[in-house]
C-alpha cells in the first residue's frame, strides 16, 4: 500500500493505492491521525488507485470519520471508489456514513 498526503486550502487529500488489509490498515489510520494532529479534520480520501480493501480498512475509515466529525464541520469524504470496493462498503452498511464523489475534483470542491 502507498499513501500520499497533500494539503489544500480547505481540506487535505490522502491518496491510498494498492491493498488495505489487517497488515496495512494501521498505516491508513496513522495517515488520517497525522492530518488530525496538524489540526485539520476535513479530508478527501482518493481511492482511485485502490485495488483491495478488507473490513480492517473499513474500520480505519469509521474510526477516522468519528475523530474528524468530533471537530467543527470535520469530515472524511471518499472519492473515486472502485466498483468492487464500493460493493463491499455497501454490504457493510457504511455507505450512509460517508459522502462519496465520482472524482477528486468534486470531492475537494465540496469543502
Amino acid at each position: 500500500m502507498e499513501i500520499t498526503t497533500q494539503r489544500y486550502k480547505h481540506c487535505d487529500l490522502i491518496g491510498v493505492k494498492g491493498r488495505v488489509d489487517s497488515y496495512t490498515a494501521p498505516q491508513l489510520n496513522e495517515a488520517i491521525e497525522a492530518v488530525n494532529k496538524a489540526g485539520r479534520y476535513k479530508i478527501v480520501l482518493d481511492l482511485s488507485g485502490l485495488e483491495y480493501m478488507s473490513s480492517a480498512g473499513f474500520r480505519a475509515l469509521l474510526v477516522g470519520q468519528r475523530n474528524c466529525r468530533r471537530y467543527n464541520r470535520g469530515e472524511i469524504v471518499l472519492a473515486a471508489v472502485p466498483k468492487r470496493i464500493y460493493e463491499a462498503i455497501e454490504l457493510t452498511g457504511f455507505t450512509p456514513l460517508f459522502k462519496i464523489f465520482d472524482n477528486v475534483t468534486a470531492a475537494v470542491g465540496s469543502f
Binding site: D21, S22, Y23, R59, R84, L91
Partner: protein, 156 residues
C-alpha cells in the same frame, strides 16, 4: 508456504488441478499470499473477476478472524487452506489449531446505527456470510477449528 496439489484426470479433458492445499504462518503479512492462493483456485474454477474478488475478501476476513480470535495474536500457529474446485462451485476449507471459536459469540453488527454507535467488531463474520453461499464453523476441541465456505458459480 507448503503446497500440494492433487491432479485428477478428467474424461477426455486435459489434466486439471481440482484440489490444492497450502499452509501459511498465521500472520497478517501473509494475508496477501492467502488471498492469491484462493484467487488462483477461483480463477481456475472459471469464476469471473467479481466472484474472484468475493472469494479473496471472504478468505481474508476468515484468516484475519482466525489470527484475532483462535490464536489471539500473530505467529501463534498456522492456517491450512484447501481449495476444491468443482464444476459449479468452489469450496474453501480453513483449519487452525487455535482456541475454539464460537461464531454465536459474535454479535451481528447493527448496520442501521449511526456513526458513533456503529460497532467496530463483527464485520468479518458478517461479510463472510454475505459474500459466500455457505459458511460453516466447526470446533474440533483441542484440535482447533474447521471453517468451510462454499461459493457457487454464477448461474450454477
Amino acid at each position: 508456504m507448503i503446497e500440494a496439489a492433487s491432479c485428477l484426470q478428467g474424461l477426455g479433458r486435459p489434466l486439471a488441478i481440482q484440489m490444492r492445499t497450502a499452509i501459511f504462518q498465521a500472520s497478517y503479512k501473509y494475508l496477501e499470499d492467502m488471498r492469491q492462493f484462493a484467487a488462483q483456485a477461483a480463477k481456475d474454477a472459471g469464476m469471473d473477476d467479481a466472484e474472484v474478488y468475493v472469494v479473496k475478501l471472504a478468505v481474508d476476513e476468515a484468516c484475519t478472524n482466525i489470527i484475532e480470535h483462535a490464536y489471539g495474536v500473530e505467529n501463534e500457529g498456522e492456517i491450512e487452506c484447501t481449495c476444491d474446485a468443482e464444476d459449479d462451485r468452489l469450496t474453501v476449507i480453513l483449519r487452525d489449531h487455535g482456541k475454539p471459536f464460537d461464531p454465536s459469540s459474535v454479535t451481528e453488527p447493527d448496520l442501521s446505527s449511526g456513526l458513533e454507535k456503529r460497532p467496530l467488531g463483527g464485520l468479518g463474520v458478517y461479510l463472510m456470510r454475505q459474500l459466500m453461499d455457505e459458511v460453516r464453523f466447526e470446533s474440533r476441541g483441542e484440535a482447533g477449528n474447521l471453517l468451510t465456505m462454499v461459493k457457487h458459480k454464477r448461474g450454477k
